[in-house]
């Protein structure tokens, strides 16, 4: 039996590591591109608005509108794109 090779990952000097969690990524993306308001009045409203924001983002991107942070949504958020917000501010 062969053992799997041990992968060693290195933090390269000067490399901008974008090692944020998927939730952090989503929050940042939804805010940056205008899907979510930056000020929330309560945690509950925040949750609601994030679900709606995700649905809105999924609709814009032609994804299934689940309102959840599924793999397709996360993958889309990692794609190269224009920096202009999708929702007018």
């Amino acid at each position: 039996w062969s053992h799997p090779l041990k992968s060693v990952f290195v933090t390269f000097p000067g490399d901008v590591t974008k090692d944020m969690s998927e939730t952090e990524l989503a929050d940042s993306y939804l805010k940056k591109f205008g899907y979510i308001e930056t000020v929330h009045r309560s945690g509950f409203q925040s949750l609601l608005s994030k679900t709606n924001a995700l649905k809105r983002m999924q609709r814009q991107m032609g994804l299934e509108e689940t309102g959840e942070l599924d793999k397709a949504t996360v993958d889309t958020m990692k794609q190269p794109r224009c920096g202009v917000p999708d929702v007018a501010n």
Binding site: F9, V10, G14, P80
Partner: protein
């Protein structure tokens, strides 16, 4: 489509633009050309005209920058955010900014426009053959002055057309030295520099002095990127150093080892472990033309569209043959109306360098010294998404591309590239189709001509009309053996049956491909038989049809057949 709230748009139709600076990734005339073509996308469907200014304030000011570049929306390093633009208006409104941490190309890998030489500024042709060796980057081989050069056709030995590649030894851009070349060594802050440097700058751009002493003369320019230079990391603009040491192991090519993101990187000194100098290896890059056309859409008043195929969709997708989507046209015409009047004179392509400068001057031609440059790695094939033709010869799959071919044996062993001109000297660079008949004769098609090789002897070129194909057929795109003496020839949406013995097309043809071969693309550009199956290829995909005429697999040529 969407427009900005209040339908913000320009109140005049003669829009001006100005390019404030350039990216080191592409020669400036290529950048100018990409922007001009991007504006033409919109002027083709509206009454708008675009005039370039070289000074003063233009409606649309275009610039490249990195991270914090002077507005409230910093870029983010490589990938993710590529560019942004503002809706029409005064000041920063209408301006377009491009992230220069991206690798800007025409979307399909390195583009190198030559200077001087004898090719009138043509683009380098990669790979090219020089002295029997194949090159995928510019080289200094054959020269004693260290100037990198390339051939502008597939075979330098045959065509002898060449030019010099951008380098700091030829010119600089920007700065204040009118494009003068670097002078090495030069003095900056009392220290000697033998190469371009980022010292003294916070934006990471590489520069050099164009006289011996910057401290005295203050003359400088920015260094153009070489096509083999790394991107990002902490050595931007430096070439990879092969072999290099990383974690105690030696690497002879770019690697993804050590990275979670799967990106190819290399060290720029002989030891990453010792020096920690590195950068990403050049990839296909982002199409400046496509991104600019999108950003100019914003600058004219369009917001993002939710139609994936529209230019104004927010995410980047490379398309080879671009055409403006109906949604974009409706959006821009909602703001400015349709194009009226006669067609304007199309923009002229960028002029080649001044004829005075394109004379060979005192630059010696590449000489024919012995080179030690290795043939590019076999896996170079993996960068292609589409081949000129794929066929089986002597049991091995042959992949033809731009004057070269690779072989995949039945044991899945890949070899090549080999120059087509060496094995079949009569053939042109691009082969549209090929097949081997039962008597081991090889038929090659290119445009409206074909050749027949029987061992070393060759017949042709002959016109395909001699076989009975109609004059409307511009090329034969695929061939498929049918029985002992019959071969199907494919072109467009039709196919014909060739009687190889009689050298004539059978009666009753053409037929529609999709009427006989259900479930495959009707416009496949490669058709071939392999291991009992027939493969129909379009772009990077194949449709595999088994002997019962069932499509039993659709896959990637690159990954499934080439094991990339």
């Amino acid at each position: 489509y969407q427009t900005f709230e209040g339908d913000i748009k320009w109140d005049h139709k003669n829009i001006t633009y100005r390019t404030l600076n350039y990216s080191p990734d592409m020669e400036s005339s290529l950048i100018d050309d990409a922007f001009a073509r991007a504006f033409k996308v919109w002027s083709d469907v509206t009454p708008l005209t675009f005039t370039r200014l070289f000074e003063g304030t233009a409606d649309i000011m275009i610039s490249f920058g990195k991270r914090d570049h002077g507005d409230p929306y910093p870029f983010d390093g490589m990938d993710n955010l590529l560019a942004h633009a503002y809706p029409p208006g005064e000041g920063v409104q209408g301006d377009a900014h491009f992230d220069d941490d991206e690798y800007w190309t025409l979307g399909n890998g390195v583009v190198v426009k030559t200077l001087y030489g004898n090719a009138n500024g043509a683009l380098c042709h990669f790979p090219f053959v020089f002295e029997g060796k194949s090159y995928t980057t510019c080289t200094t081989d054959g020269r004693t002055d260290n100037l990198p050069w390339c051939a502008t056709t597939a075979d330098y030995s045959k065509d002898q057309t060449y030019g010099f590649c951008p380098s700091e030894y030829l010119y600089t851009f920007g700065g204040n030295a009118n494009g003068a070349k670097c002078v090495f060594p030069f003095v900056f802050m009392g220290k000697n520099y033998d190469s371009c440097t980022t010292e003294g700058r916070s934006d990471g751009y590489r520069w050099c002095a164009t006289t011996e002493n910057f401290d005295n003369d203050k003359a400088y320019g920015f260094c153009p990127s070489r096509e083999s230079a790394v991107i990002g990391g902490n050595s931007e603009g430096e070439p990879c150093h092969f072999p290099f040491e990383f974690e105690g192991n030696q690497y002879d090519s770019c690697t993804t080892v050590g990275r979670k993101d799967g990106k190819l990187w290399c060290a720029t000194t002989d030891s990453y472990d010792a020096d920690q100098k590195w950068g990403f290896c050049p990839d296909k890059g982002y199409s400046l033309f496509l991104v600019a056309a999108h950003e100019f859409g914003h600058a004219l008043g369009l917001e993002h569209s939710s139609i994936r195929d529209a230019l104004m969709f927010p995410m980047y997708t490379y398309v080879e043959e671009f055409s403006l989507h109906r949604d974009d046209i409706e959006g821009i015409q909602y703001l400015y109306g349709p194009k009226t009047g006669p067609d304007p004179t199309p923009p002229q392509p960028n002029p080649f360098p001044d004829p005075d400068k394109t004379e060979p001057t005192n630059e010696p031609e590449p000489t024919t010294t012995t080179t030690t440059r290795p043939v590019p790695p076999t896996n170079e094939i993996c960068k292609f998404t589409k081949f000129d033709t794929i066929t089986v010869i002597e049991g091995d799959l042959h992949f033809f591309k731009d004057g070269f071919y690779w072989k995949m044996s039945s044991k899945n062993e890949l070899s090549g590239p080999f120059a087509v001109s060496e094995r079949w000297p009569a053939l042109p660079t691009v082969i549209d189709s090929a097949f081997e008949d039962k008597s081991k004769k090889l038929y090659f098609f290119s445009g409206t001509r074909f050749w027949v090789y029987n061992g070393e002897s060759v017949l042709g070129p002959r016109n395909i009309e001699k076989l009975g194909l109609p004059s409307t057929v511009e090329k034969v795109e695929g061939a498929m053996q049918k029985g002992k003496d019959k071969v199907f020839l494919f072109s467009g949406e039709n196919f014909w049956r060739l009687d190889v013995k009689a050298q004539q097309i059978d009666k009753g043809f053409p037929k529609y491909t999709d009427m006989v071969f259900g479930g495959v693309p009707s416009d496949a550009h490669d058709v071939f038989q392999y291991k009992g199956n027939t493969y129909f290829c379009r772009d990077s995909f194949y449709w595999r049809m088994n002997s019962r005429k069932q499509v039993d697999r659709v896959g990637y040529v690159k990954y499934d057949l080439l094991n990339c």
